[in-house]
Symmetry: C2
Subunit: 281 residues, 2 copies
């Protein structure tokens, strides 16, 4: 396995296989890899001839300095993890390589960033769209693999690739969860043992929404109010948002019908967690 | 010569030569081709194995509806012109192909768009950067050719390609001028015979700046005031801007030293013309 730190080296490697009939799979990550990432890596491994994983904690997508500073990093451990997964190349550039002096380009998506995390974290998805455009241009994958936990990110990247004619196939894989339902996230390690238990409330609220819809409750206000009840019942849990949106447009619904996602962002102490599930199709 | 109207057809054509050791030259245009475009096309023809020219009047880069409506278009004539230049492919998509329903991505550059035309035409360079990103992703050229008349556009595209790691070589070619010095532009055809004569004042003002610098005048305010005198002397000429800027950063100077560009935008009647020259290196 090659560990590549410079963009030019990555480009040379990538261009060397250009025109060969081999498919390139790509899993972009911010490191601190968990089973969620591994599920993406394994799918990519199965479906592609070459597999590239990037590890880069992208400062541009953090809306708060302290959040960036606290974000877990463990490059050496991550490299050991992916080595076992038969990854061909780990691309782990430094910040200065990605954002050199004079860098001034931004990629933005209107509309799709107006709800959910886009509304709550100004500039976040501009950072995501910009880094993803760069990584896709450097790695030039045939397919890229994303997890459903970051569903809005998936929708935005799919639109970005379509809008900018990047010709990359974007694959979505299911959220990987702990036994009690908590969606895996690098941020989970910020939780104390007590908070870890409280964090269950996100998935519980989502399951409640799903079961209400299954029982033919279609009124979004009523569903949200039950979800809110579950979360507010937990001490130190603070709702950032509870949203019920169209799965494609991410526009808020007043009535559940057709492709619908329920999504939540909740502060457990000083850690902000997100999760979502499909509640209607 | 192939005339391609759809993105997917263009991509199939482009991907067919992927991995072959043949270099692709690209000249993006808005049509109504003149000798300025032909100089780009001929350089590209000389330096590249395959040559693709795009013709697309990009609505996103017009800041005024009436300007877009009045912009000259002559696709059939343009196709005849490029046929004679041994162009391999003309890519001439329609608006709906480039901006389908739901399109919502924008590419922006901060800083480099703050002066000159960027300041005067809000959203213009966002439109340029977005369409160029799309065209570059579709055509995947090795080299793209731009004219110096649109110098700010060149600087922005060069930075865009670097920032988004597109790996395309951007070539700048000198402004092509009529005998009396007027920079060729598709907009020149809006000028009446009388206005056409008045339009000389742009280049005259630029030459004045250059000769002042040659005579060791370094004070930007004094140079600008002489340029202003030349333009204001012409009835119906209205200055949009006169700028003296660093050739790389496009930042306004107070004293001429090192790489310096003088640039002007002037309304001649209802037609806005731009021009620039290097006044110091």
């Amino acid at each position: 396995m090659d560990v590549v730190r410079s963009i030019s080296e990555m480009q040379v490697m990538r261009n060397a296989v250009e025109g060969q009939k081999c498919s390139i799979g790509f899993v972009p990550t911010m490191g601190t890899l968990h089973e969620g990432h591994l599920s993406l890596i394994r799918s990519a491994r199965d479906e592609c001839d070459k597999l590239i994983v990037s590890i880069f904690v992208n400062p541009m997508q953090f809306d708060r300095e302290d959040d960036l500073a606290a974000y877990p990093q463990q490059l050496e451990t991550d490299i050991d993890i992916v080595k076992k997964e038969k990854v061909d190349v780990v691309f782990a550039p430094c910040k200065e390589e990605i954002y050199p002096e004079g860098f001034c380009t931004r990629v933005e998506l209107k509309k799709l960033t107006e709800n959910l995390c886009g509304k709550r974290r100004p500039g976040h998805f501009e950072g995501v769209a910009t880094i993803i455009t760069k990584l896709f241009n450097i790695v030039k994958p045939d397919r890229a693999y994303l997890g459903q936990k970051d569903y809005q990110q998936y929708i935005i990247i799919k639109r970005l690739v379509q809008d900018l004619n990047m010709g990359i196939d974007i694959k979505l894989l299911p959220t990987v969860r702990d036994k009690d339902g908590l969606a895996l996230s690098s941020r989970n390690r910020h939780l104390s043992a007590e908070e870890r238990i409280k964090a269950r409330c996100l998935y519980e609220a989502l399951l409640k929404a799903k079961s209400l819809v299954r029982d033919n409750q279609r009124e979004v206000e009523k569903i949200k109010s039950e979800m809110e009840g579950i979360i507010l019942h937990v001490r130190d849990a603070k709702i950032d948002y509870i949203s019920i949106v169209d799965s494609d447009t991410l526009i808020e619904k007043t009535e559940v019908s057709g492709d619908t996602i329920a999504a939540v962002a909740v502060w457990i102490g000083s850690t902000r967690l997100i999760d979502n599930i499909v509640i209607d199709t």
